[in-house]
């Protein structure tokens, strides 16, 4: 029997060979094995990935129980790199591996969320808390502006897969390639880093079955207080009373109707007191329960291995009716057909169904209604009809959030088939050829319905239904030769040469119908509405359908050279051709070089008791970026429609300017790193310094409206910027004994971004969004993502100096006080940053006998979050509910305040994007705390199971922050409000709150 020395658990599929012969066997699921020996004095060699190989003499023994020791240093670990694998110790680049068990320590719906806090230099922002939502992943800062800034994902060799659609439980490990030495092989798709995803495959030996399940409860744990009924009525009446002050010559200052019993008998009692006091936050964000089940089967024979998995996830959000379900199935097969020929493949089928109730940013959506719905209305009146702001004249009339959640929603259906087939042939002992055909077929069908009962949303349209389909057909073929050559005892090299073609065709069709005779049909019968494919809706402004093909054709190579296991050299190059740049700019070459010196292999360290590993490495190279959508270099007409003679006619318009000089964005990266292992691998330190310089940055640049194009943007190569930073990762095993181990991990990353050059004489660029002023500026010398706005000093007092100063701007005591330019115009400056100065993560794991406990705390520091929602709920009294902060508004007896005097909205002064909105967005979050218990081995044997663990965990136990919104890690604009969707991080205009999640799980292996 073979067991692990660490936890005494049986090890299946350990290879046992008789030394010097070809004979051998594998252990079964219980770690047991039998082997017939022809020679009683044979020596058995036990080897298992991740464990030290052991040799045991069989002389005189009939039972040999072996405890294999885990290799605590990862030196012999094999990592996945572009077009192959390599021993970790052989690498010259910066590559970090994350294993499945680290990735899946908490229940998350997708890979991007799972990656948070795992790898130094990989910044993950979970911005949306809608069920199933993906997170934003940035490696080593933001290297581009408008081209994609996401890393490229390579799933089992298929390049460019959306990592968030696959079931994270199918992942065996991921590798994050960060520096040019490792990413340049991906050429034009490598500039933002590469994430290699390896999914679970079969293994030789007896079949193993594992089952994992968890159930969890999400609950609201932070609050954004708004006015209760009493406070609302008070502020409402004060606001109208103050109207006369701010507009003495204006019309009637009184509300459309006084809030009293006579006008609103359903809302006020006979004493004119509000009947209801609805806390919309509490009514809307109710605890939600979710569950997930995963079944995995792995097995195989000597020649052929297979795996199968089934997954089910049902995630419910805090927002009522929001939900995400995913069903996935995956199979893999790998066959050794001949000694020299191997074929295999995988097929992954995924169906996801997301019910989203928070469409659009800025609309009267659910999160906004939670803050804006007035407390004096109930959810429903006693007769069962919905209540809402629209019941009160003069209020901005959003339906209440619960009604909207029930009657306005999108069902996002994702259907995906992803997989590949490969043939691998050993041409000689040194030469391997592999050809791989990969495909990814992805259909998204988004069904939307908004009821005819929803005033101000879809009542006037008589109900709105739309169905949008987006289909991507992707195929690729990769063909490459690998030459592993040992020149002599001191020198060996691996050379790789390959060619690839890939093509992606994207198609979409959007149809919309309005004016239904009944809400019954929803989106299920678009023929039941009288108005088909309405023109000019927000969802599909002018193009109900489109087709975009894009192609890549590439040639690549790599040479890795190893001298004495001490001196390592790698050179890679990729010659990439893409359909996207303009003619004449389609091909470009992306080379890189890397070198490493394994100091610990030198004689003077070889026998050191302290230093078990020391490697220094450096790399330099180029990668590119082209992710800007198709046809961006070509001038285009656009079509729309207008009315003529009582009917619609098609119009042809200047659509897009095009840019005949559009070319690749190029990133040059320098990286220096050190890897240090101490005390037999008990302490591991990785440190990297890098500089990424991006030139010819692609920006969707706003162009003057005078140009006359309906798309007032054009893609241009506009300048350069630099990201530089350090990454540290320190893992220590503090205590290691039979019963008790304690390990900790700390990662730290600091990235500094600076725009170094902009075309057109370094003039500032305002990329949008423009929400009551430009929210961002791109300025030479400043980091990308710099907030730009006015500076609020407070409010004007009623002393003579303030009165005079206010009057210069047409303002009065109680109005907001800003900094102005000397000529009296508005003064704008950089007032914050949306990217953190540094991020860190601290985790610790304690194991005691059968118990394990771990926690994970994340630090994000030196960053701002813009609470744009304050405009809507702090500056607009009398048309909606307000934040409780307006109770601290200016009054003659409360002059030292940042919040202006309340007044009726008609006389509200201009709101500006300013320093009062741009808050400190730093935070420390208790990401995850887990307590687990595993049944000990003897019990397991009795039960005939190989593994049984139950655990309880809590996510988001706490967040320490000064931010006043629900969560400082936020982005509500990613539905591309404004001209440039890249610039929306850390802008909060009513977000879904982040839940705290209590979780119970079980893991069983057979």
């Amino acid at each position: 029997k073979v067991t692990s020395s660490q936890d005494n658990l049986p090890l299946p599929a350990v290879s046992i060979k008789v030394k010097g012969t070809a004979a051998g066997t594998l252990t079964d699921a219980n770690g047991s094995y039998t082997i017939q020996l022809s020679n009683a004095n044979s020596v058995l060699v036990f080897s298992y990935t991740g464990f030290a190989t052991q040799e045991v003499s069989a002389a005189g023994k009939s039972t040999i129980n072996v405890q294999l020791k885990e290799v605590s240093s990862s030196l012999n670990e094999v990592v996945v790199i572009g077009y192959g694998t390599a021993k970790k110790s052989d690498l010259t680049g910066s590559v970090t591996t994350v294993k499945a068990e680290q990735l899946l320590d908490k229940p998350v719906p997708n890979l991007s969320q799972a990656l948070q806090g795992k790898v130094a230099g990989v910044d993950v922002s979970v911005n949306s808390n809608a069920p199933g939502a993906a997170a934003k992943v940035r490696i080593r800062g933001i290297g581009s502006i408008n081209s994609n800034v996401d890393p490229i994902y390579v799933v089992d060799g298929v390049v460019g897969v959306d990592p968030n659609s696959i079931n994270p439980n199918d992942i065996a490990s991921i590798e994050v390639l960060k520096d040019a030495s490792s990413t340049a092989i991906y050429g034009v798709r490598g500039a933002n880093g590469v994430i290699m995803v390896t999914t679970k495959r079969g293994r030789k030996g007896a079949t193993t079955v594992s089952y994992e399940a968890n159930v969890n409860r999400s609950e609201l744990y932070r609050h954004v207080p708004t006015l209760n009924s009493k406070e609302f009525v008070k502020i409402y009446n004060e606001s109208f009373a103050n109207g006369a002050k701010f507009d003495p010559t204006g019309a009637v200052q009184t509300p459309a109707k006084e809030l009293n019993h006579t006008n609103f008998p359903l809302l006020f009692d006979a004493n004119n007191n509000p009947i209801y006091d609805t806390n919309w936050e509490k009514e809307t964000y109710q605890p939600a329960y979710s569950q997930s089940h995963q079944l995995n089967i792995q097995g195989g024979s000597d020649k052929s291995i297979y795996s199968m998995s089934l997954g089910y996830l049902n995630q419910n959000g805090l927002t009522p009716t929001s939900n995400f379900k995913r069903y996935s199935v995956k199979m893999t097969m790998d066959n050794d057909i001949k000694d020299w020929l191997k074929i295999g493949g995988s097929l992954n089928g995924i169906f996801g169904r997301q019910r989203l109730v928070t469409d659009g940013n800025g609309g009267l959506n659910v999160p906004r209604a939670v803050s804006e719905e007035v407390p004096i209305v109930p959810i429903k009146y006693p007769d069962g009809t919905w209540a809402g702001n629209y019941d009160i004249e003069g209020l901005e009339g959003a339906p209440n959030p619960i009604q909207t959640a029930n009657e306005r929603y999108t069902i996002n259906n994702t259907l995906q088939a992803l997989g590949n087939i490969y043939i691998q042939a050993k041409i000689s002992s040194e030469l391997d050829f592999k050809t791989d055909f990969g495909f990814n077929l992805n259909t998204q069908k988004n069904n939307f319905y908004s009821s005819a009962a929803l005033k101000h949303l879809s009542a006037d349209q008589g109900g709105v239904a739309s169905v949008n389909t987006n289909t991507t057909y992707f195929w690729q073929t990769e063909n490459y030769l690998t030459w592993n050559k040992k020149i002599n005892d001191h020198q060996r090299f691996t050379a790789l040469a390959g060619i690839s073609f890939s093509r992606s065709v994207y198609e979409r069709a959007n149809v919309e119908t309005q004016n239904f005779i009944s809400d019954f049909f929803q989106f299920n019968n678009l023929g039941a509405g009288s108005l088909r494919s309405a023109a000019g809706s927000d969802e599909n402004p002018s193009t109900p359908g489109a087709l975009y093909p894009g192609s890549l054709n590439s040639y690549y190579g790599r040479i890795s050279y190893n001298i004495d296991e001490k001196y390592l050299f790698t050179a890679t190059g990729r010659y990439d051709g893409s359909s996207r740049p303009a003619d004449g700019h389609k091909f470009a070459f992306f080379p890189s070089v890397g070198a490493a010196w394994r100091v610990s292999q030198e004689d003077f360290l070889k026998n050191s008791q302290t230093i078990s590993n020391l490697k220094v490495r450096a790399s330099f190279g180029y990668t590119g970026n082209q992710e800007i959508g198709n046809y961006r270099s070509l001038p285009q007409f656009s079509t729309n429609q207008t009315a003529q003679n009582g009917a619609a006619v098609i119009t042809l318009l200047p659509g897009y300017l095009g840019n005949p000089n559009l070319k690749w964005e190029k990133t040059r990266q320098i990286d220096g790193g050190i890897e240090l292992g101490l005390f037999g691998g008990r302490v591991n330190l990785d440190a990297d310094y890098y500089q990424r310089t991006t030139s010819d940055i692609l920006l969707q640049t706003p162009i003057p409206f005078t140009a006359g194009f309906t798309n007032a943007n054009v893609y241009k190569n506009i300048g350069s910027m630099k990201n530089s930073g350090v990454e540290l990762s320190l893992n220590t095993v503090n205590i290691q004994s039979t019963d008790f181990t304690w390990s900790t991990g700390f990662i730290f990353a600091a990235n500094q971004n600076k725009v170094t050059k902009l075309n057109d004489g370094n003039a500032d660029i305002f990329p949008g969004p423009n929400f009551l002023g430009q929210n961002y500026v791109i300025r030479v010398g400043a980091p990308i993502g710099s907030f730009y706005g006015m500076t609020r000093l407070g409010t004007y007092g009623d002393n003579p100096a303030d009165v005079a100063a206010a009057a210069l701007h047409g303002l009065k005591p109680g109005d907001r006080k800003y900094i102005y330019n000397p000529d009296g115009s508005n003064y704008y400056s950089i007032i914050g940053r949306s990217n953190p100065k540094w991020t860190g993560n601290f985790n610790s794991t304690i194991k005691y006998k059968s118990w394990d406990f771990s926690f994970d705390i994340r630090f994000v520091q030196g960053v701002n979050t813009a609470a744009n929602f304050k405009h809507s709920v702090e500056d607009r009294q009398t048309i909606s509910n307000s934040l409780a902060t307006v109770l601290n508004g200016w009054t003659p007896t409360n002059q030292n305040t940042m919040i202006s005097q309340v007044r009726n909205y008609k006389y509200a002064q201009d709101s500006h994007f300013d320093t009062w909105w741009v808050e400190d967005g730093s935070f420390i979050r208790g990401q995850n705390f887990v307590l687990g218990y595993s049944l000990p081995a003897p019990t397991l044997q009795k039960l005939h199971v190989s593994r049984f663990r139950i655990y309880a965990s809590v996510q988001n136990l706490f967040v320490i922050t000064d931010y006043t919104g629900y969560d400082p890690e936020v982005d509500t604009f990613n539905n591309s409000y404004g001209s440039n969707p890249a610039f929306t991080q850390n802008i909060d205009f009513f977000a879904n709150p982040r839940p705290r999640i209590w979780n119970l799980g079980v893991q069983v292996g057979f």
Binding site: Y390, D460, P549, Q636, F637, G655, G708, T710
Partner: protein
Amino acid sequence: KKFLEEKPKSVLTPGSNLSSVKVARALANGAYQNLQGLLTGQSGSYGGNTWNLMEFMTGKANSDLGQTGFVNFQTLIYSNTSFYFDTWWQQMYLGVGASNLAIETIPTINAAGLTDEAKNNMVAEARTLRALYYFYLVRMYGAVPKVTSVPKDLNLQVPRVAAKQIYDEVIIPDLLAAEKSTLPWKDATGKVSMGAIKALLADVYLTYAGAAINGGPAAYAESAKRSLDVIQNGGYTLFPNYTDMINPTNKNNGEFIFQVQFAASVPITNPLTALTIPNYSGISAYSDEYGSVWPTDQFIASFPAGDKRVAEKQFFYTNYPSLKTGQTVTFKNHYIYKWFDVNAIKSTTKSDLNYTIYRLADVYLMYAEASNRAEGSPNANAITYVNAIRARATLAPIGALSQDAFEKEVWLERYFELCFENKMWFDMLRTRKVHNDVTGNWDNFVGHKTVFNATFTEKQLLFPLPKTETDINPKLLPNNPGF
């Protein structure tokens, strides 16, 4: 390499095969697209459409809403980031761009059944519309960039040129060229007709003669020549009743010379119907009843006694039955009845009414004003036309008046007849005179105090160029005086 070639299948490019009659027509239709920009919604606003601005500026309009930015215009404290300036700018230049594309592409199209005459006429439509878009731009912003072709490269930072140059080099030549086309006098489908070309040319010359350009007496004569041509040869007739103008069956007919086209069935619908219903009055099926613009009491009071136009449910209304209860709702102010589409209000919420750019009454008054200036005194025709307008309003006819008295009478008729049709502000700028509703005097524009106690200054003569545009194109700076 073929594999990497981009051959768009879902968008037309200049290299695509465009040889078809329908493509030519679609290009010509493109020039009409942004006429809807005269009424388009302001982003970030609620109940604020481009149309609002021109009424807010006059000081004769009020609003039920705060989110229209009304207060900024009521107090005249507005800036280059205030509402509407960006949208007007954007919409008018999009119109220019679409017209440019049509003007330069249509002549290159060769297709069976596409005659040179048809091409010339389509180009004439587009040139008329380009002139119209520029006419709005120069009156609002003064000096503006002159763009007369679709840009082919990234050199987009075009400087401003004087308004006079835009008139001399674009607006007037475009219209004179269009005048030479064989377009019919009237077009029942709503396209540009000879009547529209000449009415616009009459307006352009009248404005050119006015205070902003001071184009001289010859311009008045040119103006009068065009308006008389429309009146005598266009075949247009005044509607007997004001409410004929809010009957959708009369679209593009009778008195109407040129209109922005809307259709309930499309639905590209007239936003003014909902926009002018009193806020939350409950008289309609619309969930948004905006009360976005309504006349001040002082303006209503300035109409002469017995003027039918201020009688109930002519140009204005003060009560209407509640849709729910049927009981009469009486409003606290007068509200505008000029876009009251009964079907939309009672059930469909989709207004079928067009929005008028030129109608015969306007041309009558343009002729009266221009001929009076050109000839030194009102001629018989001029007096007849003014009296036709007065007669419909059940006002007594005027007799012989001095040049000055006649001009004031014409101006005042324009205020009353064309109120809330986005004409009054341009009249104020053109004449540099403002009728004081309280005193009854004609104040000088600069120094006029509105009923909101705000005073017009030089700063009001031109709108600021929007900051979003000057940020992208600093060559537009300095901005207009006061900004």
